[in-house]
């Protein structure tokens, strides 16, 4: 004796958000039923375990049928098979494309050869994200350029599009602005192969990197100057990178370096407890930042951008116990003082460079 067939189909598709999340998180039907029972929905509604199982199965089936549509969210809006109210469609999409920050952080920029099961298992164990959910997020497969996954889907679509990256993602995947920005950051990081896995960078969260990616996309890419070319937001502006070499004068010209230092120190004197350290380290720090700029024409150095920032700037400051406001004060004056240097002619490039560096360092300067 057994229920051979059991279906429930509503004219408006019925979806329980809790069950959807369980499905997304990769729970099997039976595990999902357990979780729901523990959640107390039964007592709330005098239902039996059978009822819960039947309901969960129905919903899982619905989600599986919807998954194909979720792969290209625009289709969800004009498909005819499921009648889903728009606000519910938005929830479905947003949740489907949502990812676990810890998990993403783990694989961000990492070069995994193939999406092997072992890699997934490791990351899954480390971040306590279930394997099924990993698969949905499909990071590994993407990075190994193998398979079909949210990330690759996003990547494949935006690759062929002109116009701003974030906006393209938002429109094609009907995601919220926040999620679209996160995806843009992931695409951007993957494209430029930024190193994020080194031990020294472990303290940075995905959101730190996502913020920095946003800064870079906004100011350093081709898209920052021309918004109608392909890959405008994923490739850094080559011309700009060339021009950055000109900044070297700030450290190679001794007069300029001294002049810069005295201007900054004048402005900072008496405003911070770390003044002595700032004064002592000025030349080192300035060399560090300008050297990063000058080397960005090499792809290898672009990859090491974040590690360089940490090693050449953040770590020395941290060992001198600068506070966050010290950092703010220092970088503001450091940037502004360069404008007063009368022999320094590269103000525009300097601003474009320092604007991003400043906000990235502000974001990255924490424990």
């Amino acid at each position: 004796m057994a229920v051979e067939l059991d279906v429930f189909v509503g004219n408006t598709t019925i979806m329980d958000e809790e069950v959807y999340q369980l499905w997304l998180d990769g729970y099997t039907v039976n595990d999902a039923v357990k979780v729901r029972m523990e959640g107390g929905v039964l007592e709330e509604f005098e239902a039996s375990a059978d009822v819960l199982l039947s309901d969960t199965m129905d919903q899982y089936r619905t989600f599986q049928m919807c998954e194909r549509l979720l792969h290209s969210p625009a289709k969800l809006a004009n498909q005819l098979l499921f009648q889903i109210p728009p606000h519910r469609q938005a929830i479905l999409i947003e949740r489907y494309y949502a990812f676990d920050d810890a998990f993403v952080r783990e694989v961000l920029g990492k070069k995994l050869s193939k999406g092997t099961k072992k890699d997934l298992d490791d990351i899954s164990a480390k971040t306590s994200v279930t394997l099924k959910s990993c698969r949905r997020q499909h990071w590994v497969q993407f990075i190994g350029c193998d398979g079909f996954d949210n990330f690759k889907r996003v990547f494949k679509v935006v690759e062929e599009l002109k116009g701003p990256l974030v906006e393209n993602i938002r429109q094609h995947f009907l995601l919220s602005d926040k999620l679209a920005r996160d995806y843009a950051a992931i695409v951007f990081f993957a494209n430029n192969r930024f190193e994020t896995g080194k031990r020294k960078l472990q303290y940075l969260t995905f959101q730190d990197f996502a913020f920095c990616a946003g800064q870079l996309i906004n100011s350093w890419t081709i898209g920052a100057v021309d918004n109608m070319v392909e890959d405008m937001d994923v490739d850094l502006d080559k011309e700009f990178l060339q021009e950055l070499k000109e900044l070297k004068i700030l450290i190679t010209d001794k007069d300029l370096l001294d002049q810069h230092k005295s201007l900054v120190c004048t402005a900072l004197r008496g405003k911070t407890k770390a003044f002595n350290e700032m004064e002592a380290n000025f030349k080192n720090l300035s060399r560090g930042l300008v050297n990063i700029a000058a080397k960005l024409t090499n792809t290898k150095d672009v990859r090491d951008f974040f590690i360089d920032l940490v090693e050449k700037f953040i770590e020395p400051c941290r060992s001198d116990r600068w506070t966050a406001s010290d950092m703010r004060l220092y970088l503001t004056h450091y940037t502004n003082s360069a404008h007063i240097l009368d022999t320094f002619k590269h103000q525009v490039v300097w601003d474009r460079y320092m604007g991003v560096i400043k906000s990235c360092i502000f974001k990255m300067y924490h424990d």
Partner: protein
């Protein structure tokens, strides 16, 4: 050449990849009507082709227009091999043939393949130009409107109800033709779909012709069914109620909550009985929160200056019908219309009955498929009448001669008619027919409610009947009149306990009333109603031919008896005294019979309170037994008390002495007449009244009885916040809000144990139904407070060890906080005749609320001219004219913009709460077959059926949207036949659905009438969104 059909293929989208190499498709389209085929160009290498074809024109007879569907096939072009079919769309163009329905079909249709399901969508435009050759018009039956709705559709009024129409057509089932052995499953499925589409078209046309002959212009309560008789063929049959309907101009549709005193009250019987204060408006006042216009009913013109309303565009000849004595009612006497018999009018009552009977007997079958009626239509209700017959199928040799099947149904109908007569009734309302087929055995069933109707509604010419009505001093008040017995007290057709009506105290009522109709909205009820089901399984031996038929015939009476007993006991247990919407289904399988009776129980204020249930043991001496009995008795009493509370049944205490009527002694009685015949004309009537035994006493003398009592008590009441019923709406709930969720659920249970007992089976079956209900409550818990309405259970035994239950219903939210007092529920102690005035009321309202001069003029002529403004929802509004679920999401719907799919609501009810139907666009009647040879890959049978049902919904919605509609009302799934063979990884399913496509607008309240009209765009060309 009476018609030109034009079709244009605009574009496709989401097409499947047909060429693996390029991941693309080279699609083109074939458009076929009759024997003519056109092709579009190939749109190479695209999954979203833009064909933008020319207009393909088909010049055809209107007869073909009615029969044939437009067939659109999407194919993938292949230079070297045969073109691959992607899928098809069948478009029924019938709605375009009626000037009052849709004028263009335009929209995205799912491309359907019987093997792969939906494969992308295609945008199509279809128009019909009919040449206004009125004579030709009448050769076919173009222009006759069809409604699945079993009441007078909400933007019409019935000028006349002509009566029963039926027709059936038969054919060979392509699935069983020899050619099926060599053709592909796809070809076979498509042949079947096409044939059934053709047969439905033909059937509808033939019924339409009958309607025209009768002088009507519409069929209401149209019920079409398929009998898949396997080897012996395919039968498509339909029944309905022919009417003459007048369209109310939607701007001036009567508003439900407005009290309008007709200033031209007819001179009829109003004079004798001063009516009560309020002219109780028809349906609306009872149900203030939904606002379809009250079923507008125009009984008789107020004066000679307003001739019978016939739209000039409808060339129905009323004169022609007068020669048709069989079908149309032309009373010889022209009198005797009084409607209800006065208590003291003994001889008059008889006279009246004779008159109305003569009136009705002139038609072959005085049957009405309607389940709810305009006020005043239903005079008395006798009880349920039903008939079943077991037949052996044989091959239909000549499709053009369906006589055998006709004769079978004729026989059954005659039986029903005679049962009704025995109950002193001249008509049968809420009439329906069904079949259950297993191999070569077929059970034909028919059931309805015997009733006495007010003949005025059926009479031609709308005579001035004022004078005759004077004789009847006190017509029954509407809130209890229908309960009064129609039969002769001294010559009762069955033993019954009669009392004086607890409402008006003037006439006799029975103690229990069973009916197949919806509860009349004006009926006075106490508390709320609830779904009551009786479930039964009976094993039978496997057998063949005559032996099998005999075995089934022998079992049937016992099943009916037990179902009836169960119903009665469950009714008592809930402390209720009437059943509405009673539907008894008996389904036959190879080794068992399933019986399922569903109804909505209610406490009618007019009927006496039911007594309790007494338990008695056979052996009074046995102490332990006594104790056991006491325990059960206590449980039963507790349940009754609990149910009274649950359903808020607190009948007012009546002082019996005032009237001196005897306190009714509880006594079970049946109003259920049945008979069965097995391949012969032998009739046998079964008295279900338990003889003289006091039926309230349940004796527990054997295990069966214990089981019965146990099953009585296992029915769990719905959880808090839920109500359920199988009628249109829940008696006792009047404040519906706009949340609506229609659903279909199917469960199949496999019995593994081969040697099951009847009790074991009963338990399994009962649990199956109960668990289904529990699942619904759980799934829909977010809608609380809500009511599951129109719960329609269908049972089947698809294979030897399988039980299939399919349910379609709608969950509707209501406002718990508002007072749930029924506004019109006033104690009517004196008879009043306000119905007469109410009948005028829609007409009056037309005038009152219309500010446009054309509409005023239409009032004078009594009919809106066809050239009147024809309101249409603009295409913009159409996409979201309804709140999705709760009202808050309405805005988000709108904001979603033009790219989104228009929302189409579906409901098995005849209305959507909170909205007003402004236009009926035509009937939706679709038949689909789906087959798979990769069952596992599609998620097993559940996955397969789940996606198929979702696909069917999608196709219904797409067709409705293409007609310009935003909702389907009176939706039903009439057939869901699933065959599976998991070992072969195969399954096949057939689904037949129907309903009425409508446009409805949100109704706020009567003050905002103009604003609701604002969303309606006047568009005289009628081609909105088309060009």
């Amino acid at each position: 050449m009476p018609g030109k059909l034009k079709a244009k293929i605009v574009a496709g989208r989401h097409l499947p990849v047909m060429d693996r190499a390029s991941d693309l498709t080279d699609a083109f389209v074939e458009v076929k009507f009759g024997n003519t085929t056109f092709k579009t160009d190939v749109c190479p290498k695209s999954l979203n082709p833009q064909w933008n074809s020319e207009w393909f024109k088909f010049e055809v007879d209107d007869e073909d227009l009615q029969d044939e569907p437009l067939q659109i096939t999407v194919l993938d072009h292949d230079t070297y091999s045969a073109n691959d079919a992607i899928g098809k769309v069948y478009i029924d163009i019938d709605p375009l043939l009626c000037s009052e329905a849709a004028s263009v079909i335009s929209g995205w249709f799912p491309i359907y393949d019987t093997i792969h399901g939906i494969r992308g969508e295609i945008n199509v435009l279809v128009k019909v130009e009919l040449f206004n050759d009125l004579n030709r018009f009448r050769q076919s039956s173009c222009g006759v409107k069809f409604f699945c709705t079993t009441s007078i559709p909400r933007c019409y009024r019935a000028a006349m109800v002509h009566g029963f129409v039926e027709e059936l057509v038969v054919n060979e089932d392509p699935e069983y033709q020899w050619i099926d052995r060599i053709r592909t499953p796809r070809a076979s499925n498509e042949a079947r779909q096409r044939l059934i589409s053709l047969m439905s078209g033909e059937l509808q046309r033939k019924i339409g012709l009958k309607v025209l002959e009768m002088g009507g212009n519409a069929v209401v309560g149209y019920l079409q069914c398929f009998d898949l008789e396997g080897e012996s063929g395919l039968v498509v049959r339909a029944i309905g109620t022919a009417c003459t309907l007048d369209k109310l101009s939607s701007g001036s549709a009567p508003n439900t909550n407005t009290h309008v005193h007709p200033n031209t009250a007819p001179a009829s019987n109003a004079c004798n009985s001063p009516s009560k204060d309020g002219k109780e408006p028809v349906f609306g006042e009872d149900l203030p929160s939904f606002s379809g216009p009250p079923t507008p009913f125009r009984a008789l013109p107020t004066s000679s200056s307003s001739p019978p309303p016939f739209s000039p565009s409808k060339p129905c000849s009323r004169q022609s019908s007068s020669s048709d004595t069989d079908l149309s009612l032309t009373p010889k006497t022209g009198m005797g219309s009084g409607g209800s018999a006065g208590k003291e009018a003994g001889p008059l009552k008889t006279l009246l009955r004779q008159q109305t009977q003569t009136a009705l007997e002139q038609r072959e079958f005085p049957f009405f498929t309607l389940t709810s009626f305009p006020p005043g239509f239903l005079v008395h209700v006798g009880g349920v009448v039903s008939a079943r017959s077991v037949k052996l199928l044989d091959r239909i040799h000549n499709p053009d001669e369906p006589e055998t099947r006709d004769a079978w149904w004729e026989e059954i109908r005659q039986e029903i008619k005679s049962h009704a007569k025995a109950l002193g009734c001249h008509a049968v309302v809420g009439y329906s027919e069904s079949t259950s087929i297993c191999e070569e055995v077929c059970i034909l069933s028919a059931s309805g409610t015997a009733a006495i109707l007010n003949p005025r509604y059926m009479r031609e010419g709308c005579l001035d009947i004022g004078s005759t009505d004077h004789r009847f001093e006190e017509p029954s008040p509407p809130s209890c009149g229908f309960c009064h017995i129609p039969y002769d007290e001294l010559n009762m057709p069955f033993p019954a306990q009669l009392t004086y009506c607890y409402h008006c105290r003037r006439q006799k009522v029975p103690d229990v009333l069973f009916t197949t109709i919806d509860m009349p909205p004006e009926a006075a009820v106490t508390g709320k109603g609830c779904l009551i089901q009786a479930r039964l399984c009976r094993l039978k031996k496997k057998a063949q031919g005559e032996v099998n038929a005999t075995a089934i015939s022998n079992l049937l009476p016992f099943m009916e008896y037990e179902l009836h007993t169960q119903l009665m006991n469950k009714l008592k247990l809930r402390s209720m005294n009437a059943l509405f919407g009673l539907h008894i289904q008996i389904s036959v399988g190879e080794n068992m019979l399933l019986g399922l009776a569903s109804a909505t129980g209610v406490y009618l204020t007019a009927l006496p309170a039911p007594g309790g249930i007494q338990i008695a043991g056979k052996t009074p001496g046995d102490l332990s037994n006594e104790h056991h009995i006491l325990t059960i008795q206590k449980r039963i009493n507790d349940t009754i008390t609990k149910n009274k509370e649950l359903y808020q049944i607190n009948p007012p205490e009546l002082t019996e002495e005032v009237v001196g009527s005897p306190i009714p002694e509880p006594r079970q009685r049946s109003r259920l007449f049945r008979s069965h015949s097995e391949s012969s004309d032998e009739l046998s009537e079964l008295d279900l009244s338990h003889g003289k035994k006091d039926a309230f006493v349940l004796e527990i003398d054997d295990t069966d009885a214990v089981e019965d009592i146990h099953s009585l008590l296992t029915d769990a009441p719905p959880p808090t916040g839920f109500y359920s019923c199988n009628t249109e709406i829940m008696p006792g709930i009047y404040n519906w809000t706009t949340g609506v969720q229609m659903f279909t659920s199917v469960r199949v249970f496999r019995l593994s144990n081969a040697n099951l007992t009847n009790q074991g089976l009963n338990k399994i079956f009962t649990d199956l139904c109960e668990n289904l209900l529990k699942s619904f409550y759980f799934k829909l818990r977010s809608m609380i407070p809500c009511c599951l309405c129109h719960l329609n259970f269908t049972v089947a035994v698809p294979e030897e060890e399988l039980i299939q239950v399919a349910v379609t219903a709608v969950a509707m939210t209501f406002d718990k906080d508002q007072t749930q007092e029924k506004p019109a529920d006033k104690p009517v102690t004196k008879g009043c005749s306000e119905t007469e005035e109410q009948l005028q009321f829609p007409l009056e309202l037309c005038a009152d609320s219309s500010s446009i001069t054309t509409q005023t003029s239409s009032k004078i002529s009594g009919v809106p001219e066809s050239t009147n403004v024809s309101p249409r929802v603009s295409s913009l509004e159409r996409s979201s004219p309804l709140p999705e679920g709760r009202s808050r999401s309405l805005r988000s719907n709108r904001s979603f913009g033009g790219s989104s799919v228009p929302v189409v609501k579906m409901t098995p009810l005849s209305f959507l709460p909170g909205t007003r139907i402004i236009k009926y666009l035509g009937i939706i009647n679709m038949f689909f077959i789906r087959e798979t040879t990769s069952l596992r890959e599609e998620g097993g049978v559940s996955g397969f059926l789940h996606s198929f049902i979702a696909e069917v919904f999608a196709m219904v919605r797409a067709h409705v949207a293409a007609l310009g509609g935003n909702a389907v009302v009176s939706y039903s799934m009439k057939e869901c036949v699933l065959m599976e063979n998991p070992n072969k990884n195969q399954a096949q399913c057939l689904i037949n659905v129907s309903g009425d496509a409508v446009i409805c607008v949100i109704e706020t309240d009567q003050e905002s009438m103009p604003s609701t009209i604002n969303v309606v765009q006047t568009c005289s060309s009628g081609a909105d969104g088309a060009t």
